[in-house]
């Protein structure tokens, strides 16, 4: 067996960081693994499959405290200018983002590639930017290097981040945060939970309804224990987090998007509002805008698509994609792939030449030297259930 190493090989190096919920993970028999410089739970007693299915049927509770939470404030008090300043780094409309709203966007580089995908929340007094764990230090440096000196940019070091996801998430959160009931998808609010100030957004990374709660680190353990005492709330690890987001067609930075993929190639153009596109009120004006706007006009050469392998074998990231069983020239590459427990079938995402990107196109992925047929499929594989009404 190539993957089952013996115990002596599994000792974690001392340099790995721990979230405020580390002890709680161990107390719940978590299998801990290194991820983005942290010791994180891959799964708990239930295992990846059951944790995945539980999230779609009830409520999954995730520790995502390893992610970065960055506050952007104005030193001079000109809060209204913060959004305009940040618009120079992202292709989204942030000026029209109202107080109490959050938006998904990307930080771009000079070639239109993606530095990271982020959430930007308008909290009135400041902007709160949530970033990926593996890139958070780089993102902080990128923001500081490119925002005006008048902006104070700090990584919040003393907060945990907990995600509650699934059809039961609202019921699970309500006893702690009654105001959650009136929140729509992508609303974000400050609220007091158990006498401490939290920031709650109605959002997540699973395609399900749910909430992300930023809580002071000192109170994270108590809040999670309290949430877990409720019916049908179960801890869910990073293994299921990955299979859930894959089924939801959501990108993983470093796999499906990176500094060589533009948001247009990545099929994220929905996140570029009209005001920032050619002809819009504040067209372009962000790093790499020339490349991105030209691609919006139709010259991207490749596109991220969903793939449904026809057989049972998973097709994983790195697999080359071909038009047929024999040609030597790859027309694409899988970036994420695995098994979708809610579909009981393998699913994958990858980039293919634009001409081959139409759903229904039959392509072939090389898995261990054999060409496996796969159909281009629309994303998401599992329909999103966001509460937009």
């Amino acid at each position: 067996m190539s993957a089952a190493s013996s115990p002596s090989a599994n000792v974690a190096p001392h340099s790995l960081q721990r979230t405020p919920l580390y002890d709680l993970h161990l107390a719940n028999d978590a299998k801990m693994v290194p991820f983005a410089g942290y010791e994180m739970p891959l799964h708990y007693r239930l295992g990846v499959l059951k944790e995945h299915l539980h999230t779609r049927a009830a409520t999954g509770l995730f520790d995502v405290s390893h992610m970065g939470q960055i506050a952007i404030r104005s030193r001079s008090g000109a809060v209204g200018q913060l959004a305009l300043a940040l618009e120079r780094l992202v292709p989204a409309d942030l000026v029209e983002l109202g107080v109490g709203r959050q938006r998904y966007t990307v930080l771009t580089n000079v070639t239109g590639g993606i530095v990271d995908d982020i959430m930007v929340a308008n909290l009135g007094s400041h902007l709160l930017v949530t970033v990926n764990a593996a890139t958070k230090n780089n993102d902080l440096a990128h923001l500081r290097a490119n925002m005006p000196d008048d902006c104070q940019i700090d990584m919040l070091a003393d907060r945990a981040l907990i995600a509650l996801q699934g059809p039961g998430a609202e019921d699970a959160l309500l006893p702690h945060a009654p105001a959650a009931r009136s929140m729509r998808f992508m609303d974000v609010q400050r609220m007091t939970i158990g006498a401490v100030e939290c920031v709650v957004s109605r959002s997540g990374y699973t395609g399900e309804d749910g909430f992300e709660v930023s809580v002071p680190a000192t109170h994270a353990d108590a809040l999670v224990r309290s949430l877990l005492r409720q019916d049908n709330v179960a801890l869910v690890g990073l293994g299921a987090r990955d299979s859930l987001r894959l089924e939801a067609g959501l990108c993983l930075y470093g796999r499906d998007i990176d500094d060589t993929t533009t948001p247009v190639e990545a099929a994220l153009e929905w996140s570029i509002q009209k005001t920032r596109r050619t002809g819009g009120k504040r067209a372009g004006g962000f790093i790499g805008a020339e490349v991105v706007l030209a691609q919006l006009a139709g010259n991207a050469s490749r596109r991220r698509v969903g793939l449904r392998p026809e057989g049972r074998a998973p097709v994983r990231g790195g697999a080359r994609i071909y038009l047929d069983e024999t040609s030597d020239t790859a027309i694409g590459q899988v970036t994420s792939g695995g098994y979708g427990p809610s579909l009981t079938a393998p699913v994958a995402m990858g980039y293919v030449d634009l001409a081959t990107s139409r759903p229904g196109t039959r392509l072939f992925a090389d898995v261990r030297g054999i060409r496996h047929p796969a159909l281009v499929a629309p994303l998401p594989f599992v329909a999103h259930r966001y509460r937009r009404d």
Binding site: S243, A313, G338, R368
Partner: protein
């Protein structure tokens, strides 16, 4: 004869010149929930140390190596149809493949149970 083991977490049960091979309970617990199994074709000639099967969890694929040289005479279709059997009964009903041995000396070189238990604790 008593079961033998490999450092790569395969178990071997010998009956005459037929060896039945599977992965250990330790291996399945390390892999997590399995969702796909690929087995060699019967009739295939395999060598000791060769990667002959694949087990896949939600997250990753792992090779299973043959502990012995010989010919594949049977494979367990049941685990192809239901990979979760490997998690629930890895050392009995979820055997993987049977090999007709060509070199008995290889059997002597395998670990006994005590040595394997020592490796995994």
């Amino acid at each position: 004869m008593d079961r033998k083991f490999t450092p790569d977490h395969e178990w071997v049960s010998i009956d005459g010149d037929i060896a039945t091979v599977g992965i250990t309970d330790y291996a399945q617990s390390q892999l997590g929930d399995l969702v796909f199994v690929e087995l060699p074709k019967t009739g295939r000639a395999i060598r000791k140390g060769e990667a002959v099967a694949v087990v896949e969890s939600v997250k990753a694929a792992s090779d299973v190596y043959s502990p012995l040289t010989g010919e594949v005479v049977a494979v367990n279709e049941g685990i192809v149809a239901d990979p979760a059997l490997v998690n629930s009964d890895p050392e009995q009903s979820a055997w993987m493949f049977k090999v007709r041995l060509t070199d008995r000396a290889e059997v002597e070189a395998l670990m006994d149970e005590a040595a394997y238990r020592q490796q995994i604790t």
